[in-house]
Amino acid sequence: MVRQVVPFLAAFGLLFGWVSATPAQERTPNDPRLFTPGKLTVGTGDPVFPPWMLNDDPAGGEGFENGLVYALAEEMGFDREDVVWVRQSFEETIAPGPKPYDFAIQQISVTEARSEVVTFSSVYYQPDKAVVALPDSPVVGASSFAELRQARWGATVGTTDLDYLENILGITNVAVYDDQAGTFQALQGGLIDATVVALPTALFVTAVQVPEAKITALLPPDENDRGHGLLFEKDNPLVEWVNEALAAVIERGVVEELANTYLRGDLDIPEITE
């Protein structure tokens, strides 16, 4: 009799333990669905570019995106030390297959086509686009898209800047470089007349990296580009929890504050709209 009852009791105990353990652990730092339970593992670029993250050091906490991640981590109940950074190139980030982190942050724009193969969080920031050129470039003083089209343009592969040039400005022969450094190298070398980048990037580049270049115009937003989101492996169940935390962080004004600290500048730049 006892022999027959024991397995039932054991099975019941296991079942009860499993049922009661799961809801208790989900949405806590020990959530078993995390890449490493107890840690928040975050992917980002290698290198990372200011002002999104300063000093190529995500763990330093200085910068817009790593500031946002630390605020998110706090909201989700993680200690600062529990945030683990995984550095990957953009190509590795978008490659298919399992991802070695919970989510990635790298100014990745949310689009319809990309959502078919990865899952995005809600949008946390939507930057304006800015034209960057040297002072003697033909785009200086341009006032219409038609005038802008006369110039030789360059952009970085994998950015929505390239889509912007092709779809919004209607430029067909954009030179495409491997990374931001290559694009600005080409700009300085006179291989291209101008490039389009997100306004915060433009502010930083013209202030620090290529001081001889300047922002010559602002451009209207692209409706197909919904802004930057966090990237998850397709159908990662964590996205709901992160989205709630993100909404709370935005609600508290943290994103606004970070953007004011890192992404804004005093601007008196003409906007070209058509």
């Binding site: 086509a113 950015t159 080409a186």
Partner: protein, 296 residues
């Protein structure tokens, strides 16, 4: 069977002079099982190996996702027009570079083969040139030339990345091709030089009429091999902003996170390199036959 007959060094006329035609060798007749068994073995092994691989791949848990991201027919078609446009750039750069390399490498090889004290600077130049350009990665040269030289803004020189990137490829590949030419020239028998000298040909004439034609024929398959490699390496120019097939495919991939465009580019490359490889094989075979028939 026929080939062996052709290779027979004794021509029938020698035989027929004294003792009449020799009896033809008896034909070996294979039985049905002797024919079928090897065929069956190859067929089975092919089916087992490739079928097993296909099963392993398509049964894997991630296959549907890989298929969606790499072999997505809709995405491949969607990317095709831009990738094809990029591919024309590849072919144009390849064609021009090929001609330049063939000529410049020949010049280098001739420089190197010249003997005589007056030609010492030329020989030294060639040795240094080949060491330098063969010792550096082509990618590094493309970056240095494509970004560096236009940035100098020297008046009178073109300022296009395409031009200077292409130049870097020509300089790099010419170093390899020059060594191939040189090996071909060294393979020409010394007797040919001696014979040319005996006929009173100058050093230049010896090269022009005796050595180089034979050398080129010797190394044609090796040169074609380089041509195939070059066709793929044109993709390196994408780092200096040239929109070739690979770059166009990459743009599509980055835009949609779908890798099928890379497969489209891969197919386009195969469509051109495979016929070229077969052509190289057939040249090599014809060359071998030509040589064997010529043996006394």
């Amino acid at each position: 069977m026929r080939v062996e007959g052709d290779l027979d060094p004794r021509s029938p006329t020698d035989w027929s002079s004294g003792m009449g035609d020799p009896p033809p060798p008896a034909k070996k007749v294979l039985t049905v099982s002797e024919r079928l068994i090897p065929f069956a073995i190859s067929l089975t092994s092919v089916v087992v190996v490739f079928g097993g691989l296909a099963l392993l791949i398509t049964r894997s848990e991630q296959w549907p996702r890989v298929q969606l991201q790499f072999f997505n027919g809709r995405a491949m078609l969607e990317a095709f027009p831009t990738v094809l446009r990029g591919f024309w750039t590849n072919l144009a750069v390849w064609g021009v570079a090929l001609c330049c390399i063939a000529l410049w490498a020949l010049v280098l090889a001739v420089f190197r083969s010249l003997n005589g004290p007056w030609f010492a600077p030329l020989r030294l130049f060639t040795v240094i040139y080949i060491d330098l350009f063969r010792g550096l990665p082509a990618l590094l040269l493309v970056l240095l030339f494509g970004f560096g030289i236009p940035a100098l803004q020297i008046p009178g020189l073109p300022r296009s990345s395409l031009f200077w990137g292409g130049m870097a490829m020509v300089l790099s590949y010419a170093a390899y091709a020059a060594e191939v030419y040189r090996s071909g020239m060294e393979a020409v028998h010394d007797g040919q030089r001696a014979a040319a000298k005996a006929l009173g040909l100058s050093q230049w004439q010896t090269l022009r009429y005796a050595i180089v034609p034979q050398a080129v024929r010797n190394v044609l398959p090796a040169l074609l091999n380089l041509a195939v490699a070059l066709q793929k390496d044109v993709a390196l120019l994408s780092v200096v902003g040239v929109r070739d097939a690979v770059r166009e495919a990459q743009i599509y991939t980055a835009r949609t996170f779908n890798y099928s465009s890379l497969v489209t580019a891969a197919l386009l490359f195969l469509v051109t390199t495979i016929p070229l490889a077969r052509f190289t094989d057939s040249i090599a075979r014809r060359d071998r036959e030509r040589r064997l028939q010529r043996t006394p």
